[in-house]
């Protein structure tokens, strides 16, 4: 399948009093049409910033964002307006992302008005009702306010709003993190159904690896602004090659009590993303770090077909020569 979006050497730096914060640092990947790319990583790894830079909500510091053949990084704010019909975002917190003073219908029709999608009020109303039905909201909800809904239904409103203008690409920034598991499963199923029905392409950002595994085709793992591993989801979860990915996977508490898993506990915490300097950013927490890891930044390379990793010692990890000590 052709790619809908290709990102190369994308950088986003923020100037802060203490220096330059490398939020997204030299990130490259592409997403095929109709597929889902999962982005995982812990707080502060730059995954939300990445999503926002792709949409042009923050201008990129450097790098290219090629969307359907157009390089968005060269577009002005005005040029981006028609592109916004093609790319939309679903935010994390359905309690903060809905205007409490607008009704459900007003919320969903706002993008339709802004982009002059419908010619008449009647047409707009029809479209809003169609969207509400699509996300599983009853007609009764039309004139209600967000506070009358629980988290799961609010997230359905947010999804309807994002889909109103008929986008091809949707950035989903932790869309189910604020929801209870039973409701989370409802929303995940809805998102999968909508993707199939409308041919959507998702960038699915989450800190929850089991959710990402469930919904994604490919997965990238980010650490301090960089992509450290990318692969098809089966490969990534079966044969992770970066020590951080391995530790991350082992840290997820499993409900399968029969399975005896290796439990790896990393030392330390994320270091600062401000002026990180040379060397592997994970080296300080990595049990396999050598002098080289602290000196030179590892290359992001394709070690196996479609399986990319940025680690000096990935070959040794892959062959099993390097093994974590269990707790």
């Amino acid at each position: 399948m052709e790619s809908l979006l290709t990102v190369s050497h994308l950088k986003k730096y923020f100037d802060v009093p203490a220096g330059r914060l490398h939020a997204v640092d030299d990130v490259s990947f592409s997403i095929r049409r109709g597929e889902t790319l999962g982005v995982v990583g812990e707080s502060g790894c730059g995954k939300s910033t990445l999503g926002r830079v792709l949409l042009g909500l923050y201008p990129a510091t450097a790098g290219d964002i090629i969307f359907q053949g157009m390089d968005l990084s060269t577009f002005s704010k005005k040029d981006l307006i028609p592109i916004r019909r093609e790319m939309q975002i679903v935010f994390q917190d359905p309690y903060a992302s809905l205007d409490p003073r607008l009704t459900v219908a007003q919320i969903i029709e706002e993008p339709l008005r802004l982009h002059h999608v419908c010619r008449s009020t009647a047409e707009r109303r029809e479209r809003v009702e169609e969207l509400m039905e699509m996300v599983g909201l009853s007609k009764r909800a039309y004139n209600l306010y967000p506070h009358e809904f629980d988290g799961g239904r609010r997230q359905r409103i947010v999804i309807a709003r994002a889909l109103a203008v008929g986008p091809k690409f949707v950035v989903c920034d932790e869309p189910v993190s604020a929801l209870d598991v039973s409701v989370q499963a409802q929303v995940l199923n809805l998102m999968i159904d909508l993707q199939e029905r409308l041919g959507l392409t998702y960038l699915f950002i989450s800190h929850d690896l089991s959710v990402v595994k469930h919904i994604s085709d490919d997965v990238v793992v980010m650490y301090l602004g960089q992509v450290i591993e990318k692969a098809g989801k089966r490969d990534l979860f079966k044969t992770p090659m970066h020590p951080y990915t391995i530790a991350l996977l082992s840290a997820i508490p499993s409900v399968n009590i029969r399975e005896k898993r290796q439990r790896i506990i990393l030392k330390g915490e994320l270091s600062s993303p401000i002026d990180p300097g040379e060397g592997c950013r994970f080296a300080k927490r990595c049990p396999f770090a050598t002098e080289e890891c602290f000196q030179t930044t590892p290359l992001y390379r394709e070690l196996e077909p479609e399986h990319f990793v940025a680690c000096h010692r990935a070959e040794e990890v892959r062959s099993g020569a390097l093994q974590f000590k269990s707790v």
Binding site: A185, Q186, N189, S210, V255, R258
Partner: protein
């Protein structure tokens, strides 16, 4: 008669305002044995935190009212204790870790002062000895003692949570209640914090009630599990029994809702609908509007707990 360390019988707690009567806890029975770790699981609004606050005798009143039941700590009913006795019980007897490490610390006191305050108050030590005790405890949870004079904003989320764990353990309580202690943390930090908690529990022969919505965390930490729904315990048993043979349709639904790491993409089977409004609970079994096995008697009357070791609250003989 021999008492377990903590016994809760028939606990009812409501939050009553001018307009509403929120039925938060509607008849909870739980026991905690010495050295045991009990997981208390349920979704938002199930009443988990209200149970914990009842044990601590910290239910905000008004609007909270304990309408009935007993909470026996070593055989003594905490509900009839004086405020002074409860003050004594908190910290020394039962200690609690609150959910959000970002707001549980005082931003204008150093971490060391906050920890020392607990020791001075409960153990009547001198300030100097208290600071030393605080430093030692911080080191046990993996924070170096040179951070003693830092303010909370200088700590990361994981370090704040460690500081709070240290604070809860300073007076070596017999029971630790941890309310979602790792929910606000990243998974690798969660793994570190859970390991510290497990280690300290074993080392000090403490008992713990771990409140969480994460069934994975319970599987890795707890001996027994109680699943709450709409203010009642609907299933109760050893982690082994409940995870391998969940009996209550709600428990089964929870397991069906979680994406599994070790299976290929099965479609999730969520529980339809949403949790009931606690101001207007359905008659009969509170779960019947969402239950696939609902029969007439489920609507009419609420089932009692059945079973001995592995208990569940359902009319159906479901497997």
């Amino acid at each position: 008669m021999e008492h377990d360390l903590l016994e809760i019988r028939g606990l009812h707690v409501h939050y009553v305002t001018d307009t509403d009567d929120v039925q938060a806890v509607n008849g909870v029975d739980l026991t905690l044995k010495r050295g045991e770790v009990l997981g208390l699981v349920g979704e938002t609004g199930a009443g988990k935190t209200t149970v914990a606050l009842s044990i601590m005798q910290l239910i905000p009143d008004p609007p909270g009212i304990i309408l009935g039941g007993e909470i026996l700590f070593k055989g003594k009913n905490l509900i009839y204790n004086s405020d002074k006795e409860n003050q004594e019980m908190r910290g020394n007897g039962i200690s609690m870790i609150f959910q959000d490490p970002m707001t549980a610390l005082n931003p204008i006191m150093t971490v060391g002062q906050q920890l020392a305050e607990v020791v001075v108050k409960h153990k009547k030590l001198s300030k100097k000895a208290a600071l030393e005790a605080a430093a030692e405890m911080l080191e046990r949870v993996g924070v170096t003692r040179d951070r003693l004079n830092d303010y909370p904003h200088q700590f990361s989320g994981g370090m704040k949570q460690r500081a709070i764990i240290a604070m809860a353990l300073l007076c070596s309580p017999e029971i630790l209640i941890a309310d979602e202690p790792t929910t606000a943390l990243d998974v690798t930090i969660q793994a570190q914090v859970l390991e510290i908690i497990r280690h300290l529990i074993r080392e000090n022969d403490m008992s713990m009630i771990l409140i969480t919505h994460d069934l994975g965390v319970v599987a890795e930490t707890c001996d027994r599990i109680a699943i709450m729904y709409a203010g009642k315990v609907v299933e109760y048993g050893s982690v082994q029994d409940v995870y391998t043979h969940p009996k209550h349709p709600y428990t089964q639904g929870l397991f069906g809702s979680i994406p599994k790491m070790d299976t290929e993409d099965e479609r999730l089977s969520p529980i339809p609908g949403m949790a009931p409004n606690a101001t207007a609970l359905p008659s009969g079994c509170a779960f019947y509007p969402r239950c696939g096995h609902c029969q007439d008697r489920c609507r009419e009357s609420a089932p009692d707990m059945r079973g001995t070791e592995h208990q569940y609250r359902c009319w159906l003989d479901a497997e």
